[in-house]
Symmetry: D2
Subunit: 337 residues, 4 copies
């Protein structure tokens, strides 16, 4: 039984708490959040203790593993402290808001970096994971092109955008990881952005971007992002190979379709909340973390993947700003896709 | 070049005329309709002669083949006269409104029955025909169950219903032929009918029926009929076999789909007019007739199939009336599915 | 917190045990099965007590509610004993193998019949339930025709078939309830059966049936059953109304589709195990039972629905045997669809 | 009746000849090809005259309109000569292989440019056209993002590639026009290319490209191209707007789907030949040309659109070569999307 503490009692903390509670080999033992109200509420829900200071988590002998869902600016410090205290660690994305901090994290971790998991939940989505393993099994021959469509149902509040690090680090970061999951290391990034949302524009951020990536072995990927989408949380993937294509369409709550006067086969709406859409993915992700924590094996994705995705996000920002393709420097941090 | 005359310048006559005009080996030479206005209009459209009396068609040395689209009560006489005059013949369905007339037709024709084609156009629909040949190729193993959904977009006028012979002979007749096309000779028919349309009920006819058929080798089929359908002309087929299922969904004008606030994948409406829906089928049907007329080979479906389908229609009427399964008597007319 | 005992530690007992364990307001307290090995295994899994004799369940003061998953021949006795002992009861279908026993059950229960739930899980399937409430909301106008396709992935063993009461009581019983769920009381049943499975034929049972039903207000339904299906557990529904149609297609594990040399849009296989396919339905069904047990409100479906479905199953058997439509006698047991 | 001559008796010449033959207001009168065998064959098929020298076409008093399907390097000269001779003109794409020639063409034509049609057939595809008019009708609100997936079934021969002007001018040119059709004038182009085909790489051309476009009013489009595709001619479009999305999936020959052991809903293969896939589009395109020729109204798309698409193709080539976003210079040739 792995005894788990959660740092950060926000929305994502609740998701992880439920997954931990339902996992047969895991036990939630401690919840930490500087806002006592939040900490108290989440801990009460599962009948466990809470604390306000992360140091109590790190120093507790009753905690085997830590899930970090604190604000991004604390991720690196929390990761390093938890690892130093001998805990198993899974951290939410992104690893940091700046590449230097991320590099420091990976460098200080050394070999331990292979055991610190990054919360890139989409790798564990059943549909995306199925495509990945079928591609790996050679079902569509050599993979050649990847199309990732990723649109949020509605733009976040302006204050969130302000502290988010920008669309590439906050939103596209998931898609960068998805592209690396399928194509491996990336050689070049080209990004174009625009605005349909005046509030986000006022923050100096894009709300719609198109990113083109070329892998080190010449394969192409395109990412299509929008901060809002009238029909829900648009999350699709196409993997095009020499012998065929595997694709994953959006999920709907039920299999119901309707035919009426002016249309046919109309399906009920696409799920519009990321926690519902990726509920299975979060659960399977946690299972992977628990299993690795129990066995001592390396995790995937690790913080190295967190660093690599952040590198692509920074490159995309630079590309969009300067109107040019940005080459990714030889990655000193060993990649572990 | 096969020189063709069309008897009956109504809606179906126009369809055949266009198909003849577009066929490289056929030539429309004569149009016949007792209503001069109709005959004149259709003949003018293709720049050919017209007549009011079918006898002129039969006696004309310039006519090689006759397409009979006259009212059902004339079908048998027109078929027999045309064949006696040495013409190739294709007749619209049903062969007759009563089984005795149909039997007389087949009996008098003798061997010639194999060369008189019945206009069961659905056998030539590209989707249904594809299912048929893939089933024949063994792609789904032994065929076991057939579901035929066939709903008209809107009920015909009461006066049409009055002279139609009833839903089984007028509408289900197509589906009876479809079932025979797939399952061969039928042993038992069970039918249930109801009404949602008061005007049709007032005519003593059903407007919705369910028919269950068992073939002589024990395979099952169900036919679902409705005289009206809010979303268009609902024409679907499922062929379920030991190793899988082949099905044909409805056709739409384009491949466009829409996602919006409360739904996704909504396709534009199902085609709602039988001449549009089965345009390809009518064209391919004519091609088959022309080819057989040129080569002298037997046709399929022939009037024997017309007789067999009518036999099922009568049995269905009896079944629905008496509330019992009706056995099909050993068919004296050799079947030629 | 409702304290629950489960009678019958077989496959369905395991499903209910898991649902109880995951329900926040329910607690599994006792497992009963005459086969000690089964009872022990299931009870151990959830750390609860077990017994071999159902009487211990009924007499236990620690049990508030009983889920009956014993063999069908014990259902009536277990239901009556549990209710007499003051327990809330949910029983698996069918209520009994003969209509007389079912009638005795409903009669002896009196008003309590409204509080004894029947495990017709499909009413709680999210897709079927969505169609039901959208039909009730008038989205497709007056409901006119219902098509229920229900095929099992593989035939049960011969010994199971022998004690099952036959396909109508064992398998179609679910579909009879589905039809009643949508169309209300039924006036007429017409059934036709056949065999593709020699082992089932040898048992004197059908393995494929088509059933046609007409409701007391003249609406039509057709049920298509097969004991085996090469592509999985085929569970579909179409509700056709005056203004449109709502349908539910099969479920697949993921949303992945494949395009390759000779085909496109190929989805991964249909789920082929009923416990997976209806996992959500079983969970929601239990939630409904728990809620009613806590509030004291009537349940739906109740044993009255169990009786009514069994009546249709008997009528279908008679219809198939005698080749005639069977009228359903005025139901003395008040219906509660 | 518009009397039409076709220059170029190749594959596309045959397509246009058939469309002309089937059009009630058009008459094919002359076929021109320097290869007598080709000219003879096509003219014989329709029983019309042929010539080897285009000058005979231009000087013939019996020709009202000319369809130019000659090799691209002759397009400008043939367009100018035909217009000078007073003929109505439709030319295949691209207008030229270099922008200077295209500019000369448009400049010399002056106002006549609005009456010279460019064969961008995809604007007339029923699905793409339906999306265009529904977007114009405001059905999805302001258009924001366009995804164009366009993959050929198989790479052309190396000798064709050599004279094609490169993938952007030969293949992507269609997609550039599609983007302009939906988004209007383009401000920026960013392109990335790669190779999976060694033969095309040896020609110094790309065989896979991703192109990102930003319109002058800030809307984004992405084009995904590949010279080969294992599952056929992959031609899809997604128009994403503020209120929803309209998309067009690939076309298949029939509506047949298959469920079998390991998959479900498998549709027959995507059409794999451009003349079949766009047969309707070519026919409707010709109808538009005939109608404009008869009425004297302006055409759309015109050579101005041909110039604008070529400008994007050149910009894409430059972008891919230099690894930077290329701005489109203020277009001196008035745009007429």
């Amino acid at each position: 039984m792995i005894r788990i503490a959660i740092i950060g009692a926000g929305r994502i903390g609740h998701v992880h708490a439920r997954a931990v509670a339902n996992h047969p080999q895991a036990e939630l033992v401690l919840v930490c959040d500087p806002f006592e109200k939040n900490a108290k509420e989440l801990s009460a829900q599962y009948g466990v203790k809470y604390c306000l200071d992360p140091q109590e988590v790190f120093s507790s002998p009753d905690v085997d593993a830590v899930i970090i869902g604190s604000p991004t600016r604390f991720h690196v410090d929390h990761i390093l402290a938890a690892v130093k205290a001998g805990k198993k660690v899974m951290s939410e994305k992104p690893i940091a808001l700046d590449l230097a901090s991320a590099k420091r994290c990976v460098d200080e971790l050394g070999d331990a970096a292979d055991h610190v998991m990054m919360g890139f939940n989409r790798r564990f989505d059943p549909s995306f994971a199925e495509i990945h393993h079928r591609v790996a099994d050679g079902e569509v021959g050599d993979l050649q092109q990847l199309i990732v469509v990723s649109r949020d149902p509605a733009a976040p509040p302006a204050e969130y955008v302000a502290g988010s690090g920008g669309i590439f680090k906050d939103m596209t970061i998931h898609d960068f990881d998805t592209v690396r999951f399928f194509l491996g290391d990336i050689a070049e990034v080209t990004a174009v952005g625009t605005n349909v949302d005046e509030a986000i524009k006022a923050q100096g951020d894009f709300d719609q971007v198109l990113v083109t990536l070329k892998s080190v072995d010449g394969k192409l990927a395109t990412i299509v992002n929008s901060r809002s989408c009238a029909f829900g949380y648009d999350q699709r993937l196409e993997a095009f190979g020499a012998d065929g294509m595997l694709s994953a369409d959006n999920l709907t709550e039920t299999a119901v379709r309707k035919a009426s006067g002016n249309q046919t086969e109309a399906k009920s709406a696409v799920m519009d909340f990321f926690l519902d859409r990726y509920e299975d993915a979060y659960r399977i992700e946690l299972g992977h973390f628990i299993e690795a924590a129990a066995s001592g094996e390396a995790v995937s994705p690790s913080v190295r993947d967190g660093y690599a995705a952040l590198q692509l996000a920074e490159a995309a920002g630079l590309s969009a700003k300067e109107g040019r393709t940005v080459a990714i420097e030889a990655n000193k941090v060993p990649a572990a896709v």
